[in-house]
């Protein structure tokens, strides 16, 4: 398919139904982030015929209003948990109030659906970010929470302004990250 075709809700629903019939396990809405597209997706669902679970793959920075719309619709959330401190979120991603928003949405996605968390370990952000994220998950969401811990960080466009992000994760940091995971008590980590 070419970049950016306006398909009708009905056409998208047919594509999803067909994918389900050939054995896909879910419908996975991505964007960028799917948050601005929630109204569109809700209309697509009105037209679907098959029983296809909804997999919502997001950065987790959505509003309470969006969260209420997703309840009763999303079967499985995958939330990209990036920062353990507002300072780092502000500096690297330019968003405010990150910790409060993410922890609120992680909790409500767990209570109103099921949850998978993805953590891409950032170089130089083990103590400020990884540590608080792991302890929040273990304490508030439970040690059985499924977490995909990833070491594939590659330097990106913000790297110019954030010197620590100009390199990949070192081997020593990855080993330390794994040690932090085992100390956290989390029992369901893919790494």
């Amino acid at each position: 398919m070419d970049g950016g075709v306006p398909l009708s809700e009905m056409e998208v629903a047919r594509l999803i139904d067909r994918a389900r019939r050939r054995g896909c396990r879910n419908q996975n809405w991505v964007g960028g982030d799917p948050i601005p597209h929630i109204p569109f997706w809700l209309r697509v669902l009105l037209h679907e015929e098959e029983n296809t679970p909804v997999f919502f793959n997001t950065n987790g920075y959505y509003s309470l209003e969006a969260s209420a719309l997703l309840k009763g619709v999303v079967d499985l959330y995958k939330i990209d948990f990036k920062y353990g401190s507002d300072r780092c979120a502000e500096r690297i991603s330019g968003v405010g109030n990150y910790w409060k928003v993410l922890t609120r949405n992680l909790k409500s996605s767990k209570s109103g659906g099921e949850l998978l968390i993805r953590i891409l370990v950032l170089p130089g952000h083990l103590e400020c970010c990884l540590g608080p994220m792991l302890s929040f998950i273990a304490r508030e969401l439970g040690t059985d929470t499924r977490v995909n811990l990833m070491d594939q960080y590659a330097p990106h466009w913000r790297a110019a302004e954030c010197p620590e992000l100009r390199r990949r994760l070192s081997r020593e940091e990855w080993e330390r990250a794994l040690k932090m995971v085992s100390d956290s008590g989390l029992e369901n980590v893919i790494s």
Binding site: P6, R25, N26, W29, I35, E48, P53, Y61, K71, E114
Partner: protein, 155 residues
């Protein structure tokens, strides 16, 4: 085909670690329980088209608790999900209606930029009124329990 690409995904829906974290999803993916949206589509919701956004939310929240108790009944085996009907004015329709209303002064993400996307204004996210489909494919690169995942990229 995907079984060759991702042999680790074949039995993932029976993996005890997957089942402990997402038991319901595993059953929906296998087709033995209905997806949540099918339940929301079976709950009738009676809203006043002239009503305020606040009134729409009130009807929404009432219907959502009905959907939740219906889901519990289905999941515990108390009701056959083949009996789920398709309401012409359902909770899912109401969600779509509210979703559209929220675009008028958009607050879907926490940037809450308030742009009127219904008029075609672009938000801070660069999305306006329309969702275009950028690509779709069977995604093999995700966690084993979600593979293969039919991925639709909106833009």
């Amino acid at each position: 085909m995907w079984r060759l690409l991702r042999p680790d995904a074949v039995d993932a829906l029976d993996d005890p670690r997957v089942l402990s974290a997402m038991p319901r999803y595993a059953r929906v993916a296998k087709g033995t329980l209905p997806a949540r949206f099918l339940i929301s589509r079976s709950i009738s919701a009676d809203w006043d088209p002239q009503g305020s956004l606040e009134e729409l939310w009130q009807v929404h929240n009432r219907s959502l608790s009905e959907a939740e108790s219906l889901m519990r009944r289905i999941d515990s085996g108390g009701m056959d999900s083949r009996e789920l009907n398709r309401e012409p004015r359902s909770l899912l329709h109401l969600k779509a209606r509210i979703g559209e209303a929220l675009m008028e002064s958009c607050v879907l993400c926490e940037r809450r930029c308030g742009k009127n996307r219904l008029n075609g204004e672009l938000g801070l996210c660069r999305v306006g009124r329309e969702t275009k489909i950028h690509s779709c494919f069977d995604h093999m690169g995700e966690e084993p329990e979600v593979v293969p995942s039919f991925t639709v990229c909106g833009s």
